[in-house]
């Protein structure tokens, strides 16, 4: 490889930035460029995120007092349902794959675009239409089933627009499937010459594993929501116990999707963290092969553990035993990843830039979330804490502490590449620390009150829990600051930030070898890849040559 010199063409010969390929609204709404579609997704999920956040903000305020402050029971139920549906389906599931996955996956493998660019645009339209429709129906008519749509509440008793809300989620599901198909086909078919499977960056592997889960799990959610809608609409008995129907069947179908959905949320985050740690510890990721196998085995084993959501639902004790065992098994590859990240940091030359701080936050919070997951995998402990705030705290540590921290790590890491601008690192580090503190203040008390018996979803509660609720709500304020702050300094950087060069972090990876922001075709020529990812250190060389 020493004979390779990287001869770059003079910059004037390269196509202009993808951002300058038309400035009209129409040029954005009809684009098939994966980078622009990534940005369309980013804008829409940001809007949804703040709506979902506002809903839970009201809930947290309401919970300051044991008997509530300003909401009726009905409004309270609708608000947490709105929060759950938006955050799960319209923010967390699409978050990293549709934004950074769309933007980076083709660049990281040296492709010009995703395999089916028009399908990619269509899936954005499906997403926005389905999500907007659902949010309007929930706000206008109200749905109070929680995001889980459990029967017979959803089919026989719930008031409000359950069918409309389910229809919107159904449509969004097809957007997710289209995205998954696109990413898998892209990874298989459009890798640049020399980009073998073992040279793929871990972010690509993570998005690939996520896509497999998306295309195999989402259709089962679609079917379970369809059956709920059919039963509710036509009165056809499928889950109705009066005619011999079995509500537990719905839970099986629902969790067959919704447990793997957790991996749709966390696998891409794991990919981001591997990239960020390697760059800011200036080291190759420790145990690349183990990292790949653990990603794929999480994706596969993740399909076999859904019954841990039904330990108290009337499932047979033998099923409980098996699902409990498998839930412990699925923790092993996650643990491998945590150890490998720590080993990557060990002996590295760590630089505490903002993306690194967010990634460190991920590591700590994800570990706590994962370890409390082991409590819940164990049947006797789960029976004690089922449907309490312990569970709420556990999955928020994974989904918010893990996925959202990783989302912000990715945002700060690739921001210069995406926009061509640098942001003020001081404010970004301040935001990262605020987020970490705010998160812990919000959710650590929930572990305690949950373990002591505070049930989730309750509007009123015994006074002994008030102190925890007050701390939690105070933490929420801090979290809100941490989420709004980046809007300000990143917005500022768009207008006044210094121009970024190709590779401001001196990171490895194909995406850093092209311009910031990249031209429409991503690279001046199709790159030829000559080595694996993460060549950091003194003898570092570019991963590809483009001459």
């Amino acid at each position: 490889m020493t004979d390779i010199t990287v001869d770059r063409l003079p910059e004037t010969k390269i196509g202009e930035s993808y951002l300058d390929e038309g400035h009209s609204l129409a040029s954005w709404l009809t684009t098939t460029d994966h980078k622009r579609i990534g940005i369309l997704y980013a804008l829409s999920i940001t809007a949804f995120f703040f709506i979902g956040g506002a809903a839970i903000g009201l809930v947290r305020l309401e919970l300051l007092e044991p008997h509530g402050l300003f909401l009726t029971d009905e409004e309270y139920n609708r608000l947490f349902t709105l929060h759950g549906i938006i955050m799960v389906w319209f923010f967390l599931v699409p978050s990293i794959p549709t934004t950074f996955g769309n933007f980076l996956l083709p660049m990281m493998i040296g492709a010009k675009d995703v395999a089916f660019p028009r399908l990619n645009l269509m899936s954005w339209y499906l997403f926005v239409i389905g999500a907007t429709f659902t949010i309007i129906t929930i706000i206008a008519g109200g749905v109070d089933t929680g995001w889980t749509f459990y029967t017979p509440l959803s089919t026989l008793y719930a008031n409000g627009n359950v069918i409309a809300a389910a229809a919107g989620v159904f449509v969004v599901g097809f957007s997710s499937i289209a995205t998954g198909i696109n990413f898998i086909a892209t990874t298989h078919m459009l890798r640049a010459p020399g980009m073998t499977w073992t040279r793929l960056p871990l972010f690509v592997w993570a998005i690939y594993a996520t896509s497999v889960v998306m295309i195999l799990a989402t259709p089962v959610l679609a079917m379970s929501l369809l059956l709920v809608s059919v039963e509710r609409w036509f009165g056809v008995p499928i889950f109705n116990p009066n005619n011999g129907g079995d509500p537990l069947l719905f839970q099986h179908l629902f969790w067959f999707y919704s447990h793997p959905a957790v991996y749709i949320m966390i696998l891409p985050a794991m990919g981001v963290i591997s990239e960020v740690f390697a760059c800011f510890a200036r080291r190759k990721v420790f145990g690349y092969t183990a990292m790949v196998y653990s990603l794929m085995s999480i994706a596969v084993i993740g399909f076999m553990v859904w019954g841990h959501h039904m330990f108290v639902a009337g499932q047979s004790p033998y099923a409980n035993l098996v699902f409990s065992f498998l839930s412990f098994v699925v923790a092993v590859p996650s643990a491998i990843k945590v150890f490998n990240w720590v080993a990557t940091l060990y002996g590295g030359q760590i630089v505490f830039k903002a993306p690194m701080l967010y990634a460190m936050g991920f590591l700590g919070l994800f570990t706590v979330g994962g370890l409390t997951g082991l409590f819940l995998a164990s049947v006797p402990i789960d029976i004690h804490v089922t449907d309490t705030y312990f569970v709420v705290a556990h999955f928020h540590f994974i989904m918010v502490g893990g996925s959202v921290s990783a989302f912000f790590a990715a945002l700060h890491f690739w921001w210069p590449k995406i926009t061509g601008r640098l942001y003020p690192d001081y404010w970004a580090r301040f935001g990262a620390i605020t987020m970490f503190l705010g998160f812990n203040a919000t959710f650590l008390p929930q572990f305690v009150m949950g373990y002591e018996g505070m049930p989730r979803r309750y509007h009123v509660y015994p006074e002994q829990f008030q102190v925890y609720h007050v701390i939690s709500t105070a933490g929420t304020v801090l979290l809100a600051v941490a989420y709004i702050l980046p809007l300000l300094y990143l917005g500022w950087s768009l207008l006044y930030g210094n121009r970024a060069d190709r590779n401001p972090w001196h990171a490895a990876g194909l995406e850093w070898e092209t311009l910031s922001p990249p031209p429409k075709e991503n690279f001046e020529r199709t790159p030829t890849v000559t080595s694996g990812p993460y060549s950091y250190g003194e003898d570092a060389e570019p991963q590809a040559h483009t001459a």
Partner: protein
């Protein structure tokens, strides 16, 4: 080939690779479809095991005549679709267009028969609800699955007819080349829809008559 440039789209390096990509994408979609229907098959299996007698009583009421006729229609349409897909790659323009037209007609005939059958079912008070004619109540579950399974299948046939008609017209007007990867892709889809029917036939029409 003179129409080669129109065949190749960004970001594919070659027509051959693009063709492979399109059918690979469609196979992934088929995997999705299988999981989509598997929820129904799981539910059906579960309830049939819970209520074998009710399922027997209920399944006797399906119209095996229409079931058989529709199976024959769909299988024939699969044949014409397969011939069309081959014809398109060999450049037999006329034959391909004819076969696609026959496929569309057979698809519509299938839907027509299904409609007639639904009409009879409704007349026979086989829609679950207060008017439902069979006892015990668990028979309603079988019929719920009947309506949902055949209904979703019919939606798939309708979508298939729409797609095949569009592509056929585009080829006929020479707006897209005959050798487009779309023909093979929609043939895969059409076969999938037929295969699903092959599973529905014994579950819904034959099991009550064993």
């Amino acid at each position: 080939m003179s129409d080669a440039p129109a065949l190749l789209h960004e970001p594919w390096p070659s027509v051959e690779r693009q063709r492979e990509g399109v059918s690979f994408g469609l196979w992934l979609f088929i995997a999705t479809e299988i999981l989509f229907f598997s929820g129904l098959f799981l539910g059906y299996t579960l309830y049939r095991n819970l209520y074998p007698d009710a399922f027997k009583i209920a399944a006797r009421e399906t119209e095996v005549f229409f079931g058989t006729l529709n199976t024959a229609i769909l299988m024939t349409s699969s044949l014409t679709m397969a011939v069309a897909a081959r014809g398109a790659t060999r450049g037999f323009r006329k034959m391909t267009l004819w076969c696609l037209a026959v496929t569309i007609t057979l698809g519509c005939t299938f839907l027509l028969c299904k409609g007639l059958e639904y009409h009879d079912d409704i007349d026979n008070r086989l829609v679950p609800g207060p008017d439902f004619k069979l006892k015990p109540p668990e028979t309603q579950i079988f019929w719920a699955f009947y309506w949902v399974m055949t209904g979703i299948h019919a939606v798939h046939v309708t979508v298939g007819i729409g797609v095949v008609t569009t592509v056929t017209l585009l080829i006929y007007r020479r707006r897209i080349p005959l050798a487009t990867a779309a023909v093979e892709a929609m043939a895969l889809y059409w076969h999938l829809v037929d295969v699903i029917w092959i599973f529905l036939l014994p579950l819904l029409y034959l099991m009550g008559r064993s």
